[in-house]
């Protein structure tokens, strides 16, 4: 049986979908059989981020209602033939599936895949409850902002009440320069409040915006720092011990290079 992991956050716009796309692709790069499930019914995005939008015929709701077989709804990735997407329906809403149906779908997928990654919608209502229904593990995505951390805290409490203990944290979009100046919450500040193990830290990176718009996950780009951070998370998911990226040092190195070539201001 594969691992069913829900990626959730409470707050919207912190990078859940981007994280699912990158972790799914990253795991596929290591040869794992992966399926990504978009549980954000009515606001589907994961297909766009993966560049698979134009291939959708059937979706999650069709599978739940028995309009098609699972195989027919799964969309194979452009790059890896063992990476699949189960897209959300765009014309329905969250009440179109029940937690029990989601449990059944996740169970079925876990028999065939090593990883089932469920992209949760923002919020704590039925969409969230559906998304977590079939999961055995949870990854919380947050950004170093007070509101995002507050929502993450709420989600951790809710997950606990649904029996999903010890979720892991991905801290997204951190900016070392702002942290250094004391203008942004530090990794320690966030971990101190949330008190859950940290799975990874993703630096804020313009390349992510470019890659999501293109439909090519950043994790494929060897020169992208956010991509490297996602590859590290993938290795940690696989049980490897990988130290957290040293954001400060990397920044220093970049600044050093810039100075050497005469670009640096400071």
């Amino acid at each position: 049986m594969g691992r069913v992991i829900v990626i959730t956050s409470g707050k919207g716009g912190v990078g859940k979908t981007t994280s699912v796309a990158n972790l799914g692709t990253g795991l596929a790069m290591l040869g794992r059989r992966v399926v990504m499930v978009d549980a954000d019914i009515g606001l589907r995005n994961l297909d766009v981020v993966l560049g698979l939008e134009n291939r959708i015929v059937y979706d999650l709701v069709d599978v739940a209602e028995g309009n098609c077989r699972m195989r027919q709804a799964l969309i194979k990735d452009k790059r890896y033939d063992h990476l699949f997407l189960l897209p959300a329906a765009q014309t329905k809403d969250k009440s179109a599936v029940t937690p029990e149906q989601m449990r059944q779908i996740c169970r079925e997928l876990a028999e065939e895949f090593d990883y089932v990654l469920v992209d949760s919608p923002a919020g704590i209502e039925q969409g969230f409850r559906n998304a977590i229904a079939g999961a055995q593990e949870a990854i919380i995505v947050t950004t170093p902002e007070v509101a995002a951390v507050r929502d993450a805290d709420r989600i951790i409490g809710l997950l606990d009440s649904f029996g999903l203990r010890q979720p892991k944290l991905v801290l997204n979009r951190i900016r070392p320069d702002m942290v250094r100046k004391g203008d942004m919450m530090d990794i320690e500040d966030v971990v101190e409040i949330l008190a859950i193990p940290i799975l990874g830290v993703i630096p804020d990176d313009e390349a992510i915006i470019i890659s999501t718009n293109r439909g090519e996950p950043a994790v494929l780009d060897q020169s992208c720092r956010a991509g490297l951070a996602y590859r590290n998370i993938v290795r940690r998911l696989e049980g490897e011990e990988v130290p957290l990226m040293n954001l400060q040092e990397a920044q220093g190195l970049l600044a050093l290079v810039k100075r050497l070539v005469g670009m640096g201001g400071r």
Partner: protein
């Protein structure tokens, strides 16, 4: 027939009084008096939670309510709750004491609830008695107790001690940095740019104001 302004229900935790949020509070209070009167002393000594259904009580209303229910009819008030909906069920029932001596002791010693976990945003503990939390109280979480509140951890959320009007209640925390701190009817909030204290502290009412001091045993 005019609609009922007061409903009295028995629950596992004792009595539950729901007041109509509409209309003049004096009239609601009057009906409450009649209802309690018709009980012929049946309610005396019972513990009771009062829910105002979202009506904001003014201090004089609060006092009148406590006077009527607590003093005249001799009920023990647990919580006066001004939220729109009463909670489905209190997350924790009060500790029940049995037997003569124990009961006599229980009159002097308030029950205490031990919570051995961190309260996260959206979680709340309400208890008739003292509450001890071994863990943090995060922003967005709340603790409401009729007695003292002790937090063996960082208190960043909302805390209300002496919620039934006990002005002698105190709040003690390993690190006291609440969003809002209430004792009885006194409400305070942290200064806008407060930093995390470095020592355990106690909050109590002195001369009608909440005063925070370093904790000394």
């Amino acid at each position: 027939m005019p609609r009922e302004r007061v409903s009295i229900k028995g629950t596992r935790q004792g009595l539950r009084i729901l007041l109509d949020p509409e209309g003049e509070f004096e009239e609601v209070l009057q009906e409450l008096e009649e209802r309690l009167n018709s009980g012929n002393g049946f309610f005396t000594g019972a513990s009771v939670d009062i829910y105002t259904g979202g009506r904001e009580l003014r201090p004089e209303h609060w006092a009148a309510l406590a006077e009527l229910v607590g003093k005249r009819f001799g009920l023990r008030i647990g919580v006066i709750d001004q939220r729109r909906q009463p909670p489905e069920e209190l997350p924790y029932g009060p500790v029940r004491n049995q037997g003569g001596e124990e009961a006599a002791l229980a009159d002097r010693v308030e029950p205490t609830l031990l919570v051995k976990r961190t309260l996260r945003s959206g979680q709340s503990v309400r208890f008739k008695g003292n509450v001890v939390i071994v863990g943090d109280v995060n922003p967005g979480a709340e603790v409401v107790a009729t007695g003292d509140v002790i937090v063996i951890g960082v208190l960043r959320g909302m805390v209300h001690a002496g919620a039934a009007g006990n002005r002698a209640a105190v709040v003690t925390a390993f690190r006291l940095a609440p969003t809002q701190l209430r004792i009885a009817d006194v409400i305070t909030r942290a200064p806008d740019n407060a930093s995390l204290p470095s020592v355990p502290e106690v909050a109590r009412i002195k001369d009608g104001c909440v005063v925070i001091e370093e904790y000394v045993s």
